[in-house]
Amino acid sequence: MSTFERIAGPFEGEVGGVLWDGEAVLFTTVDEHRLMRFDPASGDTTELRRYTNRAKGLAFGPNGELYSAQEGGRRIIEFMPDGSVTALKALLDGRYHNNPCDLTVDRGGRIWFCDPFHPIRIFGPAFFPPLSEGSVLRLHRDDRRNWALRRMTFDTVSPRALVLSADEKMLFVADGEPSSAGDRELRAYPIRSDGSLSQPTVLHCFGSDTNGAHRGIEGMCMDADGNLVACAGWKQSGPGPLIYAITPRGRIVETYEFPGDQPTRCTFGGADLDTLYVTTATGELYRGNIGKRQGLGRGGAQNGH
């Protein structure tokens, strides 16, 4: 059983990343170019940053750094405590990558992110063409403490969301947009000891019919049992907007109906990590309980995600 209520919005355009910082919920209003904060204690929503250039996904680093996948800037950025923003500069083999939309940070401080192509033009002259593929990329610091970039997947079309397993030996990736030919897939990539990925298993597929493509997974987090909690679906086709609980092997344990449309990202919050916060592509922020599920405590600021 699930119960959801809307707590913020509607905002213009979509609401993207969502993150629990220990006391409050951070979320990005992508098309409004803002970073927002919802305080459950007071119920108020405040603006933290503006002019974020379509920052979407959010994640904490090992020392509390706040990173974001900035779609409009085609880069990963860090919101600094003094109010400024730094770009993590790194080129992939000398070229600019696409439009990061989601990211996660592992225990070693490496930043894994989804890098699909986004059709909305970035600001300014388009000097740098997009890469031909949308892949999962990973930032790490080299021995000079500079950020370096490595390509991790070679078989994705348009990765939308990603999450690491609790032991960080598996990377789960949701690949494929509704406009992609073919199915949208949820995949599990085993991570080798050298940090590379081996062949994925497809855990779940979203197809299409005469009503159109079924919207796939757009955001994921982990619960305390090691299951994926994933947002997917829309009202116009398929089984509708749902929150899925999926085992690492791909068994759908159950699904929870979602009262809004197009759920996008999710994270557990609250003192016991038992409240699920969900953003939607229609500009809202919801919260609710899904059964008795609780979020994975990863320790540090990544709790609930």
Partner: protein, 322 residues
């Protein structure tokens, strides 16, 4: 209450297949043994209901107690008559022999809807009739004239399937659910909902669920389905060798997965609710078992099969002088 899964019959030689509750016993096909067996939940006894069935798989009971089986080994749907005999229905559609009926369901008008895929195992005898150039869901119906049934007439229902494996009608019979796809095939397995109009013609399907899988590790998909008392689709799917394993899925009519149940046996085949209150789910498996699942979901409306009056047709005066 805790879900309870128990093996109540088998393993028999080869796979068990179709399963249906007839009001008193759980009838199930021992496909490879070419028999239909009956499990009596009251006594726990297994009895033989029919023999020499030549690989009848899916079985179903009609609204007036008719008992039908999809006879894979002979490429036909046959009727098991109450007097112990069997008779064929109709194997030709527009003059050509259809493929290998494997699963079937009977609607309230007595029409038989069956899945007619190709089959790797040859039919008995010389291979005279080539298969159709399509594998579809077909519907058999017959009219009555002056109180007598006219011959069965077949009509093709789907025009966009490659390997239909299981069929089910919604409670109001306005939707046909089809489990489509072969795990070895190029397309992924799907669960589809076809809307039916007043004539029983199918419109464009809604995709309810798609099963995963790359080329070498495809999810097996659904092999059998039934309805629960709320009109949800209860389906057998999966295998141990890839995907999320052998499961019972419960789908809402929208396609939403309400829940899944892990099974202790591999490759579930078909399922049906039965038992005195139609509260237990019976599941057959490729390993030749009959499982009973309690405290999971409950079923509803039961059709009773016409009683068998004799095992062999006994008629006097069999010979005449030359």
């Amino acid at each position: 209450m805790q879900v309870e899964i128990k093996q109540v019959a088998g393993p028999i030689n080869g796979s068990t297949g179709g399963v249906v509750w007839d009001g008193e016993r759980v009838l199930f096909s021992a496909v490879g043994e070419s028999r239909i067996l009956g499990f009596d939940p009251a006594s726990g006894q297994i009895s033989e209901v029919r023999r020499f069935t030549n690989r009848v798989n899916g079985i179903a009971i009609g609204p007036n107690g008719e008992f039908y089986g999809a006879q894979e080994g002979s490429r036909r749907v046959i009727e098991f008559v109450a007097d112990g005999s069997s008779r064929p229905t109709q194997s030709r559609i527009n003059g050509a022999f259809h493929n290998f009926p494997t699963d079937l369901v009977v609607d309230n008008l007595g029409r038989i809807w069956f899945a007619d895929p190709y089959n790797a195992v040859r039919a008995t005898g010389p291979q005279i009739f080539p298969p159709l150039n399509h594998a579809s869901v077909i519907r058999a119906s017959r009219e009555k004239a002056y109180g007598i049934f006219l011959p069965w007439h077949l009509k093709r229902v789907t025009f966009d399937t490659i390997a239909p494996r299981a069929v089910l009608l919604s409670p109001d019979e306005r939707t046909l659910y089809v489990a489509e796809g072969d795990p070895g095939g190029s397309d992924r397995c799907e669960l589809r909902a076809y809307p039916l109009d007043g004539n029983g013609d199918a419109g464009e399907f809604r995709l309810l669920h798609k099963f995963s899988g790359g080329k070498r590790r495809a999810d097996r998909g659904i092999s059998g389905m039934t309805l629960d008392s709320s009109g949800n689709i209860v389906a057998c799917a999966g295998w141990r060798m890839s995907g999320p394993g052998p499961l019972i899925y419960v789908f809402a009519p929208s396609g939403r997965v309400i829940e899944t149940l892990e099974l202790p046996a591999d490759m579930p085949m078909r399922c049906a609710f039965g038992g005195p209150n139609v509260e237990d789910l019976f599941v057959t498996t490729a390993g030749g078992q009959l499982l009973r699942i309690k405290n999971f979901r409950v079923g509803s409306n039961v059709r009773r099969k016409s009683d068998e009056t004799s095992r062999s047709s006994r008629v006097e005066a069999s010979q005449r002088s030359a």
